[in-house]
Structures are given as C-alpha cells and as structure tokens.
C-alpha cells in the first residue's frame, strides 16, 4: 500500500495561549487598544465613534455626515485635504456601520503622527461645503441605483423591510430623492452633536512604538472629549407572525433569482453564541456545510449559497441566501427545506460535527495571526460587549458542544415559518 493512500494524521487545535485583548486608558481617560509589531514599517490607526443611522433625524444624514468628513474644513478644500494625505502615502476611509462610525487609515510608520494630526484636524473641523454635498448626493444616488440592478440588493432589502419594520435603523432604506432634501445644516448639526469632540475609542496596530502611541494620544487629546459610552437603542423585535409564502420582487432584466431567508435572533449569552455559530456552520457556514455540499457540489444548482449572522446591537439576523437560475429555485427550496428538517429531526453525526469544530478551531487560531489581527478582535470585543475572557473560553465552549445540544437548538430556532422569505430577480 502506498503511503499516499492513507491521510496524514491530523491534530486538533487544543486551546492555545489566546493573547489578552486589553484596552487601556490614557491619563486623560481616552480608551485605546495598542499592539506593536516592530520592524514591519507599516502602521494602521482607526477610531470608532458611537454614532450611526440610529441617531439621524433624516434619511442618509448619518451616512453623509460620516462619508463627507473630509470634504472641506479649516480653510482647506476636499482636494487639498486628500492631496496631502496621498502625498504622505496614506490611504484613509470613513465608514458608517450600523452601530458605529469608523475612521481609519494605513500608512508608513514614519508618517503616522502627521497623518493622524491632519486627518483628525479635518474631521473635527468638517464644514460640509454646500457644493460638495450636492455633488455627493448625485454620486451616491448613482452608486445606489447601480446596486439596485442586482437581485441580491432587493432580496436583502425586502427581507429587512418586513422583518425590521419596527426598527427604522435596520428596516428603513429611504428614497433616493431624500438626497436632494438633505441640507448642509443637517450635516453640521449631526456633526456638532455626534462627531465633533466625540468620545471615541482608538485602535493602534502595526509598527507603532510606545512613544508614537503617546504622541498619537496627545494629538487626540488636543480636543476635549467626554468618556466613551454607547448610545444605542435596544432592538425589541417580536415577530409573532408566521412567514409562509415568499415575497416576490420581479426584476425585468434579471436572468437569475436571489433567494433569501432571514430571521431575528435576540440577545444571547456568550456560551450560547458558540452553539449558534456551530449549527450555522453545519447548515451553510462553510464550504463543507450541508447547503453548499447539497445545492452546489451535488446538484450544481448554484455558484454559492450560504448561511450567516449579521450583527445588530444586542441581537443579530440569521440569513440564508444564494443566487440561482429561476427554474432551479423550487428545487433548491425543497432541498433547503429537507436539510433544515433533517437538522431538526436527527442529531448531527459525530464525524460531521467533529469536522466543523476542527475547521472552526483552525480559523479561530489563525484569526490571531498577523500584526493587525488583535485590533480587529478588540473592535469586535468592544462592539459585542464581550467579556474579557470571551476569546480565552471560545475553544473550550466549542469542543464541549455536542450533537444533542445542536438538535435541541435546531428544533427551537430552525422553524421555517419564522424566516421571512424573499425571491428577487427573474420571478
């Protein structure tokens, strides 16, 4: 027998020395995370401001206020601000997430203080010139209109509109015409109230030494700050209705269907999140999942189908989505139903669960590799309000999950009537 016929022995990932994700506070009370990776020459800085769509009084107000932070201020035009950032070799971005805004940049070690001082100064002194706002409206509108041509956009939107109709910051999308009624004063007011001098949390990673970290904190603290606190509204979603028939959204130019199921999952204890994660993995969370193996690798019905969670504030939505030919949709839905039913009726076989756990453990450990990994974990810790030993406990929790627990969970949560169902595209 050739040595090739037998798979090499595979070792499972035992719990390892998970690096501590520790936030620190400066003498003036600024909350920050710092991980130094000497010698790489590359630096990354971002800061989180606890403001989002939840705080807006007009559609797109939060998005525009954050995305236009560098559109002009302190006597400089947008072009002058961005030109200087580029000349320093840096790339900068400002995102408006569902829970928070994040301003981030990457650059070479030797210019990190210069970039931070420049970016922060213009974020703090943003003036939102009227002509920039008008242009922003045109550009953004066109960009959203392009996204609206894809079936995936509509399946996601329709599902959220129904499931989260009582939670406007998730379930309301605004009309494209809302861009034309957005005024400079709206952005200035939002900036004044939520961004200017806002308490934020700083994340320094890459090649940033202690002295540089102190310098960066000093730059940040040139602006008077309060102390960091979330100001988010708890989602309180109770969906008593049963969702049986799929919502159909027809798109005349489409040659495929985007199929999406979505349900709300409320606040979970930390140990419970791992059970959900593992059940989701077996369902559609990785390539070896039942959905991918059955619908793609066995039947060839789709290029991709997956299940995943999207975090809200205390809870999350559970999504199953995929794109396929319209004549395959019925077949795919039947197969999906069978897969879910199977998960509710029979325990996951030991070898299948073992494989999912090993995969999970491998991904989990590699998630701590590299100079920027811990800052990402720190961000997640903060946003999800995880306990300090969340990561240290993760593998123990995962290894202790058994098939009976997941059977129970599937019976409780995978009732197909609790999922909003949408098919968008060629319907």
């Amino acid at each position: 027998m050739s040595y090739r016929e037998k798979a090499p022995e595979v070792r499972s990932i035992a719990n390892f020395n998970v690096p501590e994700i520790a936030f620190q506070k400066s003498a003036k009370g600024t909350l920050y995370f710092h991980e130094d990776s000497p010698g790489i020459g590359a630096a990354s800085v971002f800061w989180l401001v606890p403001v989002s769509k939840q705080s807006q009084s007009k559609a797109f107000q939060a998005l525009a206020s954050v995305e236009m932070l560098l559109s002009g201020g302190d006597g400089k035009s947008e072009k002058e601000i961005l030109q200087h950032i580029e000349h320093l070799g840096a790339s900068v971005g400002n995102d408006s997430e569902q829970l928070y805004a994040r301003i981030h940049f990457r650059c070479a070690k030797q210019v990190v203080e210069d970039v931070f001082a420049w970016v922060l100064n213009h974020v703090e002194r943003a003036e939102y010139p009227q002509e920039e706002l008008e242009r922003y409206g045109i550009i953004k509108r066109a960009s959203i209109e392009r996204r609206m041509q894809t079936p995936g956009y509509w399946s996601d939107r329709k599902a959220k509109e129904l499931l989260y109709k009582d939670l406007p910051w998730v379930g309301t999308f605004g009309s494209l015409d809302d861009f034309s009624v957005l005024q400079r004063e709206d952005l200035m007011n939002f900036h004044q109230k939520h961004i200017k001098n806002s308490p934020g949390v700083l994340f320094f990673s890459g090649d940033i030494d202690s002295q540089q970290k102190e310098n960066l904190l000093n730059i940040w603290e040139l602006y008077e700050r309060g102390s960091f606190a979330w100001s988010l509204v708890d989602e309180n979603i109770i969906n008593a209705s049963a969702f049986v028939d799929p919502i159909k959204h027809a798109m005349p130019n489409s040659s495929q269907v985007s199929m999406r199921w979505m349900k709300h999952i409320g606040h979970l204890e930390e140990s419970a999140t791992h059970q959900y994660s593992l059940l989701n993995m077996v369902l559609g969370g990785y390539f070896g999942s039942r959905l991918m193996q059955e619908l793609r690798e066995k039947q060839g019905l789709t290029y991709g189908i997956s299940s995943y969670f999207k975090p809200l504030w205390k809870g999350r939505s559970w999504n199953i989505s995929g794109e396929m030919n319209s004549e395959n949709t019925e077949k795919a839905l039947i197969s999906m139903g069978n897969i879910i039913e199977e998960l509710q009726q029979h325990p996951i076989p030991a070898d299948e669960l073992d494989r999912a756990k090993r995969y999970y453990a491998g991904m989990f450990r590699s998630g701590f590799d590299g100079p920027f990994a811990q800052a990402t974990k720190a961000l997640q810790t903060l946003v999800r309000s995880n306990s300090s030993d969340y990561y240290a406990q993760t593998l123990d929790h995962i290894w202790n999950i058994n098939s009976a627990m997941l059977l129970q969970l599937a019976q409780n949560e995978l009732d197909t009537k609790t999922f909003v169902k949408v098919v968008a595209g060629e319907v």
Partner: protein
C-alpha cells in the same frame, strides 16, 4: 527584506520557501502556467472550469475540501488569462495534509462525468451571476473583443459564452490535465511556520515522485502587436450611460509599464486626480470617472471611463476624456507623481505582511523568473522618472489609437 529559499526538483517543480515563525499557519501556494490564453476559441472558459474540477477529488482523496476542513484549514483558487493559482492555508501542525492533497491532485486527478456535469452547472450559474446580473458584467467581453482579433486574450477568463462550458467533454478535461498539470509547469511556494529542512523533506516526499506528464507551457502570451481602433455601442444594466476609452500597452515584463501605471494613478487613480476633479467636480458631467493601467504578463491595458450624469451626451464626455488625457502629456504633475510613488511604497509595505499574499507574490515572481523582485519592487518604483512615464503615456495613449465603447442603459 523578505528572506526566502529556492530549490528545484528533478521533475522540474520549482519551490520557493519562506519561514515565518510568527504565524500559526503555513500556506501552500501552487501556480500552474496555464490560463485562458491556452484555450481553444470554441472551448473558452475551460481553464476556469478546470480549476473547479481540481476540487472534485483525486486518486487517493475522495473529498478535497473535507480533508482540508478536517485539518482546520481553508483553500481556494483563481484563474486568469495567464495562470491558475491554488492555495491552501493550514495550521502548521497539519501541514502534511496540505502536501498530501496538493500533490495527489497533481499526481492523478479523479475526473469523471458526474463531477464534470455538476461543475458545469456551478460555473454556468457563476457566469450568469457575474455577467448578466450586475452592471458592467459583460464589460471585459466587450473590451477584449474590441482590442484583439486573433489572440486568445480576446475572451475573458469566464469564457465567451456559457455554451462553451456546457459543451466541454470529459476527454477535453483529461487532455488539458495531461498537458498542463505537470510538475515542470508549476511553481510551489511554501510560506509560514515551517522550517527549510522540514519543507524540503515534505516536498521531496510528496512531489518528488510525480512524473512529468507534458512539456512546460511555451505559449508565450500571444498578444497581437498591431490593432485597429474600433468603436462600439452596447446596452448594460448600468442605469447611467458610460464612455470607456481603451488602449493596449506594454506588459509587466517591459520596463515602460511601471511608469504607465504611475501615470494612470496620477491622472485618474483617486478623487483628487485630474479626471475626477474635472469631469465629476468642476464640470459636473459624470458621477464617476477614473482610469487604470493593468500590467499583465502578456498584455498591458489602459482604460479611462466616465459614468454620465443625466442629460450629458456620450460625445461630450468622450471628447473631454481625450482632451484631459492629451493636456496631461505636456504638464507632468511632479507633486502628484511623488504622491503616486509614496502610495505605492505604502502598499508594498502592507502587501507581503499576510502569509497568503506573500506566498502568491513569491510564486508569481518565480514564475516570471525573478523571485528577488519581491524585495526590489519599492526600489524599482522609486527609480521611475516622471519624464519617462509621461513620454510613454504620450506615445501609447494617442486619440487615434483608442478604442471607444459606449454603454446605454438596457430598456
């Protein structure tokens, strides 16, 4: 400075090793010298379809993905016109699984009617998703068809039509495998927490006895040297009309191409560039405008485009695109050119930090015959003179040699 080791097996497999004890994983990256350029015109999309079949199992491996997942790793692949690249990342303690899997599918792929039929379905769905259900989905079909008449670069990797994919036969797959999936036609890079001695031992054990099945690919990137500029109008899912200007240019192996890349970054690589500033901000003709230079192994390609605002004509934007490009030739922007170099320098600092991108870059440069380039890129960028870059742009991007593509909204 990235220190690496290079060695070659008697069967022609070239290996690049780079030890990084700071990470918990090892990446095994295999680049095969075969891409869409090696397809026949009536079987386009085949190299990519074949890439899918490489995950369908091999002589000693029933399920490639399950074995990787069992080892706590992940894997994927991509295909372009010029090469096909497979990568596996596994926990260091399970690296032997990656060697077993990667070598077994080089040794003897398990090709059968069922896996071919399933993957044909998957790839056709991928084709529809990418090409028919998103704005600009067929852009590369249109652009390549305008630039090339004979060369296999005239079709994109996904293929000209999905009929070609559904018509592929098992015998085509077998012949393709025999012809191109041979150790002398591949580069293996091993990057991560594995020392050189162990790497050599594993490479010899798993790849040393694989026989050469075909000659190394000599298809030397057959890009047509001459072309006639053309014009075309198409319909697209983009709700706004678009004007694209396209030129051919030098490839990555030609020194001039780097200057053109920097030039294109200055002209239209960001929101402070001349194209954006004029077309979007000052004149309000477009809601997006940019340009880029693509440096392939065989082809170089420059594209400038503007997405039109309501009421603006294609002709107006076409003319302004040409004017802005022509005006740029004789007034090189020194400050912006330095910025482009600084941005590239920063990008080169970040790129190799991730073991996966390091492994892919090492394999790519070895494939081109000079892995040391991974340490010389910054210096090379620094050495490009602004005068040379702009002179090249003027030489290559003349109005009379441009191909022009108009998009109108569908229905």
């Amino acid at each position: 400075m990235i220190e690496f080791n290079r060695f070659e097996l008697p069967n022609g497999l070239r290996v690049i090793h780079q030890h990084d004890p700071s990470v918990s994983t090892v990446v095994l990256n295999t680049l095969y010298n075969v891409g869409a350029r090696d397809e026949s015109p009536d079987r386009t999309g085949f190299a990519h379809l074949f890439e899918h079949l490489m995950f369908a199992g091999s002589r000693n491996v029933a399920s490639f993905d399950k074995e990787i997942e069992q080892a706590g790793g992940q894997n994927n692949a991509f295909t372009n016109n010029e090469f096909t690249n497979y990568y596996i990342s596994v926990p260091a303690e399970n690296i032997e699984t990656a060697f077993w899997l990667e070598s077994d599918r080089m040794l003897a792929l398990n090709i059968n009617e069922n896996s071919l039929s399933v993957q044909q379905g998957v790839v056709i769905e991928e084709f529809k998703q990418r090409c028919f259900n998103a704005p600009f989905g067929l852009l590369w079909h249109h652009v390549r068809d305008m630039l090339y008449k004979e060369s296999p670069y005239r079709w994109p990797t996904i293929g000209l039509t999905f009929d070609h994919i559904s018509e592929a036969k098992l015998s085509d797959v077998q012949a393709f495998y025999q012809r191109f999936y041979s150790p002398n036609n591949a580069v293996l890079s091993v990057v991560g927490n594995l020392n050189l001695e162990d790497c050599k031992s594993l490479v010899n054990k798993w790849f040393g006895d694989i026989h050469i099945s075909g000659e190394a690919n000599k298809n030397n990137y057959p890009v047509e040297q001459s072309w006639s500029p053309s014009r075309r109008t198409e319909e697209d899912l983009s709700p706004n009309p678009v004007v694209f200007l396209v030129w051919k240019g030098p490839n990555i192996r030609e020194e001039e191409s780097l200057g053109l890349e920097l030039y294109s970054d200055v002209l239209g690589g960001s929101e402070v560039s001349e194209l954006y500033e004029k077309l979007v901000k000052q004149e309000g003709l477009c809601n997006a405008a940019e340009c880029f230079y693509m440096r392939g192994i065989g082809e170089g390609l420059f594209m400038a485009y503007g997405i039109l605002n309501e009421g603006v004509s294609h002709e107006t934007v076409e003319n302004r695109l040409f004017e802005i490009i022509e005006e740029s030739f004789d007034k090189p922007d020194i400050y912006a050119f330095e910025s482009a170099k600084n941005k590239t320098y920063t990008q080169l600092l970040f790129e190799p930090i991730n073991p996966m991108s390091r492994a892919q870059k090492l394999a790519f440069w070895e494939h081109l015959g000079n892995p040391e380039m991974i340490n010389k890129e910054a210096e090379t960028v620094n050495g490009v003179s602004i005068e040379t870059a702009y002179a090249s742009a003027k030489k290559w991007f003349a109005r009379e040699t441009a191909s022009v593509l108009y998009y109108n909204p569908k229905n």
